[in-house]
Symmetry: C2
């Protein structure tokens, strides 16, 4: 095997996403999907776009969507970049801003795609250990580097970084691009989008997959000053002129217009998260403070892997990472109230406790 592969392809260790079961019906708390459907305005816009004009290429510059995003986030359209999911946007950030000669810095416990991108594009990196409470330390991010990636809130911990913390990293690294991956920001962290105008080294990446319930549509976006957006466009236009199809463009625009729906569904998830955290603590779990649509939990008596398997047998999928420091933790997506009831009941049973 691997004959005729490029040297780079031979060396890759791809990212492994959470399971998407095709057969059996599970309670799916393993990939941080939103339990509520997308906005009816998004679905209506998609149905309207499913018409004869699909024979035509989409707008390669995604002008309308960038205008709607700019208006929604108080920026100019030339400060906005869009891509086929925030994973693609992140991959293009790695290509546009990082060179092999100096290491990229990111936490040791974070979104595990960052190391994969670095390997794919032949970049070096240094992983900065989070402290014992999974907080991001400040000093190590001020050391010599070729770029910084920070997820806020962090995954899979859910812990948020303050705006002053982000600002300190930006100000301490005027010659490096700092990518703040805000996939989960709408569930309780403070976005760095307000810093875009004043910090020419900042890129804020967000997604429609989580708070806007559109994981199935693949739309991510980045905010930065025009200079960095131009670099992202150069990379994108050297890879694929048309990364967003007409339906994704239409659906994303529809979702962005329905601000009330975003607010209602994220508030609901935030309340369910609080209630679930209490229930899990009463079952003896340690629960990391979460600003995301998931909880990162550990039990002192029963191994996370045992709970993972036991939940699966009971029809509930959660996520476990077989990695140093976090192998006794489970990442549990916040579902509906009923789904979290079922989760807590199953965990109580597994722990031999009253739920």
């Amino acid at each position: 095997m691997k004959e005729l592969w490029s040297k780079r392809a031979r060396a890759l260790t791809p990212y492994i996403p959470g399971e998407q079961p095709r057969e059996r019906k599970f309670i799916k708390l393993n990939t941080n999907e939103n339990p509520y459907p997308p906005s009816p305005m998004a679905l209506a816009a998609i149905r309207e776009a499913a018409c004869d004009t699909l024979r035509l290429y989409p707008d390669p510059e995604c002008t309308n969507l960038r205008e709607v995003l700019a208006a929604s986030y108080g920026l100019k359209p030339n400060q906005v970049f869009v891509g086929n999911g925030s994973d693609e946007v992140l991959a293009m950030c790695f290509q546009a801003f990082f060179d092999p000669d100096r290491p990229i810095l990111f936490p040791d416990i974070t979104y595990s795609f960052y190391t994969v991108y670095a390997d794919l594009f032949g970049l070096t990196y240094r992983q900065i250990p989070l402290d014992e409470n999974f907080a991001v330390p400040r000093e190590p991010f001020l050391e010599e580097n070729g770029g910084i990636v920070i997820a806020n809130p962090n995954a899979p911990t859910g812990r948020a970084i303050s705006l002053s913390g982000v600002k300190a990293v930006l100000e301490g690294n005027p010659n490096s691009v700092v990518v703040v991956d805000e996939a989960y920001v709408d569930f309780g962290a403070r976005s760095a989008v307000e810093l875009v105008d004043c910090h020419p080294n900042l890129v804020v990446v967000q997604t429609m997959s989580k708070s806007r319930s559109l994981a199935g549509l693949r739309v991510g976006f980045a905010f930065a000053n025009e200079n960095l957006i131009t670099a992202l466009n150069s990379v994108k236009n050297s890879f694929n002129s048309y990364t967003l199809d007409r339906l994704a463009l239409a659906g994303a625009e529809g979702a962005l217009r329905d601000v009330g729906y975003l607010r209602a569904t994220t508030m609901k998830i935030i309340h369910t998260r609080g209630y679930t955290a209490c229930r899990l603590k009463s079952l003896g779990f340690q629960v990391v403070d979460s600003s995301a649509n998931f909880l990162f939990v550990s039990h002192p008596d029963v191994a996370a892997k045992t709970l993972l398997d036991g939940l699966r047998e009971r029809g509930i999928l959660v996520r476990w990472f077989d990695k140093p420091r976090i192998s006794n933790y489970l990442r549990i997506t916040i579902g509906t109230d009923q789904e979290m009831e079922a989760l807590c009941a199953a965990l109580a049973e597994l722990l031999g406790k009253e739920g």
Copy 2:
């Protein structure tokens, strides 16, 4: 400008796609779109998929679509790869199969994205001159190389290569991957898909954008033996787990099932192409023999750029490439009969002739 860009990003010269006008209504014969709408089965499948399940990630392995493609093309699902348009599939081929140490070979006149991919991924290439009739010469493709890319039919010429020609390149290069880009194959060339089982170095790339009228949906695919498909999956899963959204998956499956529609619309275009070629010849044009949904034409008396501008003034967009050897040619997409009538009338007027 360009501060904080990576070295690679600074050096890029992105591909420039044909214009997608957003305001004025043109007769659009500039980007090889299909003049007929997508299959009603594709549109119905998309509308059905525009539902609550869009909150969930798509199947990262695109299993259903690969099964439908495999059944449709007489292959096994593990011989099929899918991507976000054939441009993305091609880009991943460059990453998966080519190394910087030996040059990739492709014709000097061909799809101009190939040089852009090579630059993006730090690869070297050698452009093989087509002969004076734009035919692909055989000998130069048997020289030492690190990979080969051939478009069949070629773009922007429309000329096809015979199956025996493709076979000779495959057999002369057992240690190189040969990518045959068949974006336009359904309009009259013979596909190399029948060679996949016997040639472990062959990758056939196709798209739903042209013959299946789905340029707006962004679905491309590749056929190859399982070893090469595994390499493509390694690259794809190191870049973006979910390159196809749920709507693209559904629409592509719907379109593939409607074989009758594909046949009827491609036959219609083939007939319009023949009739248009006759009309253009009678206006004095030299018309390259086309197996694609476009014609590549040159007039001995009037410069192509003059005709391009004149047509634009008359509301008709065609494509002109400001490049050596072909700067006196226009690439004209085959539209509806009415659109081609309008084209011929406008050209007759520009040439001062009776239409």
